[in-house]
Symmetry: C2
């Protein structure tokens, strides 16, 4: 079976299945994007989380085994209320951690070029840790991820390590990040619509224009790159050199026009 | 010029340039990997950071503009000393944040298959947020990233919001994460060596075995996937569904043997 027919079969198989996530449904804030993607023949989503603030009770020494033993004291996909955190913290008997987790979206793509287009949309919308995975049978996925995070240990062996004033301060920051995440989701939806329109035009008129268009926008924003000048992580998008938010690491950029 | 010749030219161009990073050299802990990769004709590294603990002074409302205004109060690629953080915090007049940032490595790959092999090595070593980027002229990059993080606001407008005891607790956690990061870097080096040996064997005997081998290991580890059963984020590696460390989001996995 050719890849395109196989893709159709995967998509039908995936979309026909019930949502077995804990929540049992797609998060409201990402629903428009999920519907827009699943309405395109070249895409379908395999997992999504719009973003959330969670309070975990578990170990924090970074080992996977212990992470799996942790339990959720609080989860919200909306702005978080300080008093809810205070109440939930009373149930902590391990090492409680407050985390903000931004949008995560996994999209299976018909072919690499579709993943490139979607990747470009994700980067342009601020989801700078997005990346493509290509499986051994050509299964092509895009993972949409942000650099945006917050991970704060609050208690140790059930003992609260911070003040209520600090928790209040922290909840405000988490809610700000949730707001910023929402803006990025909106940007993603708009950029996606724009890219899909461009695609329709380009595939009917200039088949080659499709991928170029998405990158030429970057060239305009990054004139330094076109001159092959070294730039810091902040400036480089195409090479995904945005994992840190400061110019602390060695980066070399080549001229765009090799 | 064909892609392979172009790749050679990019590599020569990149490796001939001086390191213009703040530090001016490759971090010790990642040097072996960088040298191993740059010694292979199909790879070269364009940026790297072995991992670090940093104390930033700036705004934390997540907007890029404000992030660019932040300054570094402390940076270390080794275990962090509590008293150094206490001293550095005295210089904070904005919103100070303590962050642990794990390994970040960007590797340009000759072709997609090379990126797939390296991606598999990264995932198997615990760098589960790794992903491929394909530029418009076929420039193929792998970004090696971990889910492993820590980001803790400590002061607001110059006012310290936590106790010295908490800072001590936090520094221990940051140092534990640094240790775990080191282990993953060692795993990455060993997996990479193993994959490169396998590749040499497979390209001389069975050219097709190369990519399959890297994924067939996963199938053995994830028997559920082979039966097409839905699995949680923790279990799914090939689809990069590991952005969160808990089964909180909707994921569908297909049988490996389509």
């Amino acid at each position: 079976m050719d890849l395109s027919a196989e893709f159709k079969r995967w998509k039908a198989q995936c979309l026909s299945k019930a949502d077995l996530s804990r929540k049992g449904s797609v998060d409201e804030d990402v629903l428009e994007i999920v519907q827009l993607l699943n309405g395109q023949e070249q895409f379908f989503t395999t997992s999504s989380c719009a973003g959330r603030i969670i309070l975990l009770d578990g170990s924090i020494n970074g080992s996977e085994v212990q992470k799996k033993n942790c339990c959720w004291l609080l989860v919200t996909h909306k702005a978080c209320v300080k008093d809810d955190v205070i109440v939930a913290l009373k149930k902590a008997n391990g090492d409680a951690i407050l985390k903000f987790e931004p949008l995560v979206l996994h999209v299976q793509c018909r072919q690499l070029q579709d993943a490139q287009t979607l990747h470009s949309v994700a980067i342009d919308s601020g989801f700078r840790n997005s990346g493509i995975t290509v499986g051994k049978r050509g299964k092509t996925m895009l993972a949409v991820r942000s650099t945006h995070s917050l991970e704060v240990p609050l208690s140790h062996q059930g003992k609260l390590m911070v003040t209520e004033e600090y928790i209040n301060f922290l909840v405000k920051i988490a809610n700000q990040k949730m707001e910023e995440n929402k803006k990025r989701i909106e940007r993603f939806y708009n950029c996606l619509q724009h890219a899909l329109e461009k695609e329709t035009v380009s595939t009917t008129s200039h088949p080659k224009e499709k991928v170029n268009s998405s990158y030429s926008r970057k060239k305009k924003r990054n004139p330094e790159k076109a001159r092959g000048k070294r730039v810091t992580k902040e400036n480089d998008k195409e090479l995904e050199n945005n994992d840190h938010d400061d110019p602390g690491i060695s980066v070399t950029i080549f001229p765009e026009d090799y």
